[in-house]
Symmetry: C2
Subunit: 502 residues, 2 copies
Amino acid sequence: MTLQEDYDTLLQKNKKAIIYQMIQAQLGWDFETYMPSKGGQQRSMQFATLAADIHKLMTDPTIGELLNSIKNDTNYYSLTEAQKRNLFLIEKEYNKQTKIPADLVKEIAKHQVVAIETWKKAKAEKNYELFKPELKKALDLQKQRAHYLDPNKHPYDVLLDIYEPNMTSAMITDLFNELKEGLVPLIKKIRSAPNQPDTSFLSRNCPTPIQEKLAIDLSNVVHYDLDRGRIDTTEHPFTTGYYQDVRITTHYYENEFDNALFSTMHEAGHAIYEQNLDEEFMYQPLGQASSLGIHESQSRFFENIIGRSPEFWEYYLPRFKELTGDIFEDIDNEKFLHAINHVKPSKIRVTADEVTYSLHVIIRFEIERDLSEGKVTVDELPLIWNQKYKEYLGVDIEDDSEGVMQDTHWAAGLFGYFPTYALGNIYNAHQFHVIRKELPNYDELVRTGNLKPILEWLTKKVHKPASLYDPADLMQQITNEPINTKYFIEYCIKKYSQLYGF
Amino acid sequence: MTLQEDYDTLLQKNKKAIIYQMIQAQLGWDFETYMPSKGGQQRSMQFATLAADIHKLMTDPTIGELLNSIKNDTNYYSLTEAQKRNLFLIEKEYNKQTKIPADLVKEIAKHQVVAIETWKKAKAEKNYELFKPELKKALDLQKQRAHYLDPNKHPYDVLLDIYEPNMTSAMITDLFNELKEGLVPLIKKIRSAPNQPDTSFLSRNCPTPIQEKLAIDLSNVVHYDLDRGRIDTTEHPFTTGYYQDVRITTHYYENEFDNALFSTMHEAGHAIYEQNLDEEFMYQPLGQASSLGIHESQSRFFENIIGRSPEFWEYYLPRFKELTGDIFEDIDNEKFLHAINHVKPSKIRVTADEVTYSLHVIIRFEIERDLSEGKVTVDELPLIWNQKYKEYLGVDIEDDSEGVMQDTHWAAGLFGYFPTYALGNIYNAHQFHVIRKELPNYDELVRTGNLKPILEWLTKKVHKPASLYDPADLMQQITNEPINTKYFIEYCIKKYSQLYGF
């Protein structure tokens, strides 16, 4: 076969795996939304069959042979950069899939089920001791996995790379230390500012049908294309799908309209990323989103940078009031904006505000890193967790269910995943800094609800390049400087000093 | 490998294909219900990939080798009847899949798309000439397909066997001739009876939310398990799924409440069949429904035999009135029952009543049969169609869109499919005859809404045996006599002479 034929064969094989993953995602969506309550066992069987076949497709020895043949071809230099990137990504994934012994893969899958079940029980009973052995084992299995993937790298760096390619523990430590230094004093200032918001109107009853209309209207405003998407409800909101069919979910609480409103903006941000990938690279490795952190940068761009900005509400509050009838007619712009930007250190990550959120993530990162390096043990976790919450957020944790056991991630073996949440904020504040330079009328665009040019900028700079670069390189391309936290901290200081008047 | 190992390997291979078919059905359900409008192209790609893989699984030469090895094993006699039946069904399917050249399979698939598109256009334009060449080709391709499947049998018998195993053109001709002889004069009597129903209340406005409640309530009454099913809406109602997850759809028309009501009963009947298959034979060939005709016997059992009976409405009308508020409070039992059993010869099959329906099917069967045998040509179809409608139903067809082009089946290449619709009526009237003998309190059970014993009878006699027998043999097992039309004709005469008073 010629070089081109080898390349095409390889891409075709990869495409098939991607199609199966799309099918898997579709079945997963149905599982979370409309599947009958007793359909689980049958669905598990479908998932297991697909997973086994995807694994088989991805570990097909022909992939290794084709990669070798291509790399040794005298015409290799004639490939485009995009083609080389595809080959790099295929090889990386192939190594990831083939280097881990099948027995370990099975053990991890089996233990995940047990650990999540135990975590649920332990959390309900506020009994960390029950969860501890399973957490220990989950960590141990992930360390083994990391060792197989790359015995020469530190295990935590190997795990980080799965979720945020090429990002290291050392880089994140530096970024997060800067963030802490900037945010901890800012939060103290905010908390002691005299100008605290009145948030009472947020709990006024807002019927679900009105909230549904709001969700659709907001989707249209931010150009989340509902002809290629849809909004359903699940307990925990999520986004799933690819390009022509990207669906989001939300959850309507009648006495917390802001919950669905911002979760819709957040998930729409994720969906917009997937909907605006480059058609040219569809179903290719480089046509997949760059990383979880970059994904989060897009969701939080729409949720926070746009969605909680004074400019946006200058445009949207009248429309919001029109859609909600007389419920909020007495609320003015200033009052609304301050309430939706209420900063309040709390124990729970998922409901945290824009400023304190990163600290929740930093705590988890520091613990994960130190656990992986053996500097702390699973036994000490509750103590360390509670100390850090006191130190960074000034919050007292009363029991481990609202402390170290609040998230499912560790039970699921997801070590290295948490940092991506805060990286999203760092990335998008930096994108925001550049976009304002490159679109000098940015504020005016938002104030008039004309988000199209902003979407086009994000599409050109972030969505279309997709996986052409690792996240740090992509950010360098966009911003012309290395990733840093300066812009996020500056953004927070400017925004919140105005809101809280200090 | 031992005989048992060979057998297990074979069943395991087959199970995988069944799981993929379940996934295919799930994606099909989503396609019809919730898929975003622009998700079609991506979904097609998923369908094509799955279809190719299912075909590969089903034509795997190992299947042929395993079948041979098992048949030549000296211990073959030690297999159970059920195991032998599985082997028979696997071999039959394997032959069906492998005997047709890949080129013909592709040509049929390709032509189907063209023919359906052309049919839609021709139907909209009332232009049969446009559709004619595609119809000719569709028929020709199916004849070729039949020839490859079995060159020694008449092509139409080969096609019939796909939808109704082992049923022949000669058998159906006899049954349908009897049916015609019984029904044509009956319809004349009904039409000339002085006691015609007042159907005007059927078009009273009945809001969708009320109809939705009715659909759920009726599902519960007939024991369609909504923990393993659900009801959504599509233009054309259908049932899809298997055992733990069997979903139905309906369509709510606010001025035609009876439409959704009886379509729900109909589809619930299909769903009940799938939900009550034998757990022992799950994911095996013999754990699949017996045939389309037997399937239709179950849907029409719930729609007509129960759902349009005086006994059922004696029980359900008070409940119906409770759920519909004051909309129908002035309608008494007799008036209601007569209206929902209104017999009126019409041009359109899908909206036909219980008595005239079979004649619509018989017309299509006679045309298909004569086409396959070369006794009529595609050029003559409109003329023959219109003559038969006049002769059997006394109806004048004004244009071919409401005549020979009304159904999509022929465009889709489905020759041999139509007869199963009328066979369903013949089968279930016969089941009804036996069930009343074996459950002497049948009428009382229906009158009190206690359908459980009836469901159990159907489950034992029809659902659980599933594909253990071909339909004619299954009916023989249930009724102890060969299939005949006597019971359906008697049932119609008794019911309608009472309703129309002759």
